[in-house]
């Protein structure tokens, strides 16, 4: 499996990371080095093996479905780059 420029461009977009066109070849090379390394996994016989979902066998705890926290909009917004009138502000998303 080899990553071409189109794939590198597509992955960068999926990850929402702007990558300048001139940096794509180097990025594709790095992907290829890493994918070449993980390609070894294809050698392993995994027939009938369950993919791991949790490393410690335990039942996840349940709790009452009730509100346990909240009511602190000022704290929630304290670190926002742009907060107005109790909301996070972002560029226009609906035309």
């Amino acid at each position: 499996m080899s990553i071409d420029l189109d794939t590198a461009r597509r992955v960068a977009h999926l990850a929402r990371i702007a990558v300048p066109e001139e940096d794509l070849p180097a990025l594709a090379d790095e992907f290829n080095a890493i994918l070449g390394f993980i390609e070894q996994l294809q050698e392993v016989d995994v027939e009938g093996v369950e993919p791991m979902t949790g490393v410690t066998p335990m039942r996840l705890k349940r709790r009452e479905d009730v509100v346990t926290d909240g009511g602190m909009p000022d704290k929630v917004l304290a670190n926002a780059p742009d907060a107005r009138e109790g909301f996070f502000a972002v560029p226009k998303v609906v035309e």
């Binding site: 990553i3 794939t7 992955v11 960068a12 977009h13 999926l14 990850a15 929402r16 990371i17 702007a18 990558v19 990025l27 790095e30 992907f31 080095a33 890493i34 994918l35 070449g36 390394f37 993980i38 390609e39 070894q40 996994l41 294809q42 050698e43 392993v44 995994v46 093996v49 369950e50 993919p51 791991m52 979902t53 949790g54 490393v55 410690t56 335990m58 996840l60 705890k61 709790r63 602190m72 704290k75 929630v76 304290a78 670190n79 926002a80 780059p81 742009d82 996070f88 972002v90 560029p91 226009k92 998303v93």
Partner: protein
């Protein structure tokens, strides 16, 4: 009398309780040492005022009697831990200016037990790196220096390891996703423990790969690791993967008696091209444990070879998902937008500016292995291989093995910049002996065991059964006593 900042936790605790020293004195000694060690670049957000305030409160509590062991002990805290109203950036530009309104469970527990925070410690960005060269704050420098070269303290908990080795604090918190506590401990002649997955709450620790991340103590001695783990561990309702099981008194389990214990030596950890000094150290460690009365057996962990490639699918996949939250909306950096830019441009520019190269690379690799058409071939296959790696360990434990002895790292600390031109995979190989432990969720500890020919520290790793940190610490304690490692870096900074 040892300089106060060079004390162990155990000695400081005893001196504090006897009234021979105050926490304020200890804290001032550490702050002075840290202020004088700017060349190491370990502390990146000092918290002098908070430290002295906490120290005074600790002194009052000690005076009243019944203070816990960690009360009054000055610590460094890795920047990955969210600490209330104190910058918590995970060494990333994307969290520039972020001051959490909450406290991570681990630091909350430490502070409730009376520990003092000296400041936040440098690390690799988002804990992604093995040399502390990916930090937005710049490289950490290893206090160990044997020639003109400045060396890496390892990573990702490089600031923690350097600060402990240079006596800028009594101990530090670290986190370990693929070796990030144990590799830097080995590179700096200190002790680093990664507990069983689920032993310490992950709540409030900036997430890298949630199924692998685990916090642990980085200390000067094995005893200190036992004392500090005690304060860090325990069930937390806010982390559904934290285990609701009792936390034993780890320190009381340090007898040094390992007679009758079975120690496994895995043949797959003999790596091609491994330096002879590492092989020799490993052989020495085997002999030390044997002389202490343990039974040594050769074992096989057949899927070892596939641990690193499985890790470099699983960890980036989880990271790509965890790091999706850095979108320039709720916290940290937002890029300046051009006329007409919409929300997609905001995400793309913010993340391009805020993330460093290694983080971008891993997020994109993770995105790729999770993308339609590749999910089964890479991600699901890696999770199946992870099942096999865990089974390797379960099989040897079922055969009666109590702990496994391996080298901690494939080399001693290398010069900063030595890997700049290497492809990323070369750097990943640093974690070859440690990453299996994360994949299997086991406890592992790096113990300093000797110096190489140049005078740089080397460490050995012990791997234990799940939830048996007490037993593992005791074996590590026996190894520590036999190895008798007492070297300290000569102060040049």
């Amino acid at each position: 009398m040892t300089d106060l900042n060079a004390l162990t936790i155990a000695d400081a605790r005893d001196a504090l309780r006897k009234g021979d020293v105050t926490s304020v004195e200890l804290t001032e000694a550490c702050l002075k040492a840290a202020d004088g060690a700017k060349a190491l670049n370990a502390f990146v957000h000092p918290t002098h005022d908070l430290a002295l305030e906490q120290a005074k409160a600790a002194d009052a509590r000690i005076k009243d009697g019944e203070a816990p062991a960690m009360c009054g002990v000055p610590l460094g805290i890795k920047d990955l831990f969210c600490t209330r109203h104190v910058p918590s950036q995970a060494a990333s530009g994307i969290l520039e200016g972020f001051k959490p309104e909450y406290e991570s469970t681990v630091t909350r527990q430490l502070f409730e037990s009376g520990a003092v925070m000296l400041g936040k410690l440098n690390m690799d960005e988002f804990a992604m790196g093995s040399s502390n060269e990916t930090s937005v704050y710049g490289d950490v420098v290893n206090p160990w220096k044997v020639d003109d070269a400045q060396r890496t303290p390892g990573g990702s908990s490089g600031g923690s390891a350097a600060a402990v080795a240079a006596d800028l604090c009594l101990a530090a918190t670290g986190t370990d996703t693929g070796g990030s506590i144990r590799q830097p401990a080995a590179f700096t002649g200190t002790v680093g423990l990664k507990p069983t997955y689920g032993r310490c709450s992950r709540w409030g620790i900036v997430a890298f790969a949630s199924s692998l991340d685990q916090a642990g103590p980085m200390t000067k001695t094995v005893r200190d690791a036992a004392i500090m783990l005690q304060a860090m561990a325990g069930h937390d309702p806010k982390d559904s993967t934290s285990a609701d099981i009792p936390v034993p008194d780890f320190e009381s389990m340090l007898t040094g008696d390992i007679r009758g214990k079975t120690i496994g030596i895995p043949k797959e950890y003999h790596m091609e091209g491994m330096p002879a000094e590492i092989e020799a150290l490993w052989t020495d460690g085997r002999k030390m444990l044997q002389d202490a009365g343990a039974k040594i057996v050769d074992i096989s962990l057949p899927h070892t070879k596939y641990a690193l490639p499985a890790y470099y699918v699983i960890a980036p996949a989880e990271a790509s998902s965890n790091l999706a939250r850095y979108d320039g909306v709720r916290f940290g950096h937002r890029a300046k937008l051009a006329q007409g830019d919409g929300i997609t441009e905001m995400y793309e520019k913010t993340r391009a500016e805020g993330f460093g190269d290694e983080v971008k690379r891993r997020v994109m690799v993770g995105t790729y292995v999770l993308s339609a058409g590749f999910y089964d071939a890479y991600y699901n296959r890696a999770r199946k291989v992870r099942t096999l790696i865990k089974k390797d360990f379960e099989d040897v434990f079922a055969q009666g093995v109590d702990a496994i002895l391996t080298p901690a790292t494939p080399s001693a600390a290398f010069p900063l910049g030595a890997m700049t031109d290497a492809d990323p995979v070369q750097m990943y190989l640093n974690d070859v002996f440690t990453v299996t432990v994360n994949l299997a969720g086991l406890p592992g500890i790096a113990v300093p065991a000797g110096l190489d020919g140049q005078g740089l520290p080397l460490g050995l790793q012990l791997i234990g059964r799940p939830w048996e940190e007490g037993d593992l610490l005791n074996t590590a304690y026996a190894l520590e006593q036999s190895a008798g490692f007492v070297s300290k870096p000569d102060k040049w900074w």
